[in-house]
C-alpha cells in the first residue's frame, strides 16, 4: 500500500518536473499518468507473463473508487460564482446541459460506430442498467 502510494506520488512529482522543464501546457498529474502508464507497459512487456503487482492494482482501485469525493472541495467553489450564475443562469444551464449531452452522445456514437467490428465481445456491457 505505502510503496504503491509512493509510486503514484513519485510519478506525480515526475510529471510536475517534466512540465516545468519542458514548459508543457498540461498539468503534472496528467503527464504523470502517461509516465506511469509507460512504466507499467514496459514492466509488463519486458518479462514473460509479468503482471502489474497486486499491491499497485489494489491501491489504484481504492483511489479510483473514491475519486468522486476528491472533486467535492473544488465543486463547492460554485458558491463563489453566485453573481454570474444568477445573472446568466439560462445560457449557463442550457449551454452546460446541451453541450455535455451532445458531447457524450457524439463521442460514444463515433467510438462505437468506428470500432464495432473489433473485439466487440470483450467490451460488451451486460444488460445491467444503472437507472
Amino acid at each position: 500500500m505505502l510503496a504503491a502510494i509512493f509510486l503514484f506520488v513519485g510519478c506525480q512529482l515526475t510529471g510536475e518536473v517534466l512540465r516545468e522543464l519542458l514548459s508543457l501546457p498540461i498539468p503534472g498529474p496528467v503527464i504523470g499518468m502517461f509516465f506511469l502508464g509507460a512504466l507499467l507497459v514496459c514492466w509488463q512487456k519486458t518479462g514473460t507473463n509479468r503482471n502489474i503487482p497486486v499491491e499497485v492494482e489494489r491501491t489504484a482501485e481504492t483511489f479510483i473508487r473514491y475519486m468522486g469525493l476528491l472533486f467535492v472541495p473544488a465543486g463547492v467553489g460554485v458558491i463563489s460564482q453566485g453573481g454570474l450564475l444568477r445573472a446568466e443562469w439560462l445560457p449557463i444551464l442550457v449551454g452546460l446541459v446541451g453541450s455535455t449531452i451532445l458531447s457524450v452522445a457524439i463521442t460514444g456514437f463515433v467510438m462505437h460506430w468506428t470500432s464495432r467490428t473489433r473485439h466487440t465481445k470483450v467490451a460488451l456491457i451486460n444488460s445491467e442498467r444503472t437507472l
Binding site: 502510494i5 503514484f8 506520488v9 510519478c11 506525480q12 498539468p27 498529474p29 496528467v30 504523470g32 499518468m33 502517461f34 506511469l36 502508464g37 507499467l40 507497459v41 502489474i52 492494482e57 489504484a60 482501485e61 483511489f63 479510483i64 473508487r65 473514491y66 468522486g68 469525493l69 476528491l70 472533486f71 467535492v72 472541495p73 473544488a74 463547492v76 467553489g77 460554485v78 458558491i79 463563489s80 460564482q81 445560457p91 442550457v94 449551454g95 446541459v97 446541451g98 453541450s99 455535455t100 449531452i101 451532445l102 458531447s103 457524450v104 457524439i106 463521442t107 460514444g108 463515433v110 467510438m111 462505437h112 464495432r116 473489433r118 473485439h119 470483450v122 467490451a123 460488451l124 437507472l131
Partner: protein, 240 residues
Amino acid sequence: MSNNVFQHVWIPLSATPLLWLAVTLGAYVFGLVIQKWFSGSALASPVLISIAVVSAIVLLTRTTYQSYFAGAQFINFLLGPATIALAVPLAKNIDLVRHNLHSIGIALIAGSLTSIISGVLIVWVLGGTKDVALSMAPKSVTTPIAMAVSIEIGGVPALTAALAILGGILAAILGQEMLHRLNIRDWRAHGLAAGVAGSGVAAAQVAARNELGAAFAAVGIGLNGLLTAIIVPLMFLFWK
C-alpha cells in the same frame, strides 16, 4: 450561552482543517447512503449531493470559500495521485487501446469539437455575455487544464472550474443511460465518452464499474486535455 459556544468552540475549530475535512467526508458518506437508498442509481450522484450539502453548510455558517478550502485542500490534493492511478487500468488494457487508436482519434476530435463549439454557441444564442461563452469553451477537460485555458482566452477561470465539475456530474448521471438508449453497449465507447465529455468526475463513475471503461476514460481525459489546450486558444485567438 450560544455566544459562548460560538467563541470557545466554533472559532477555534473553524481555524483548523479538521472541521471542514469532517464536514466534506461526512457529506460524501451521506451521499453514498442516499445513493444506496435509491438502489445505486446514477441519478443520486454522491458527488452532487455532497457538493450541495457542503455548499449549504458553508453558506449558512457565513464561511468564505477560501477558509473552507483551507481545510478541504487535503482532499483536493489527493486528486493528483488518483489521476495517476488511472494509469493502472490503462496499462492493463494497453493492447486493446492500441488496436482502437484510429477510432479513439476520430471520436476524440468529434466529441471535443462538439463540446467546445456547442457550449459557446448555445451561450451566445441565448444572449449570454462573452465572459460566460469563453468560460464554457474548455469546460469538458480536467479542471486544471480547463482553468489554464480559460485564463488564456479571457474567460472566468473560477466559473470554468465550476462548469467543469458540474458538467462532469451531468455526464456521469446521464451518460450511461443515454448511450444505452442509443443502443451503445460497449465499454470502450462509454469510457471514452465519459473521459472526453465529463473528464474526471464522469470517468470516476465508469472506472468504478469496469476496468476496460476505466482505460478508455483515462485515454479520453489525457488526450482531450492535450487537444483542448492546443486548439481552444487557437480557435479564440481573434475573439478578444
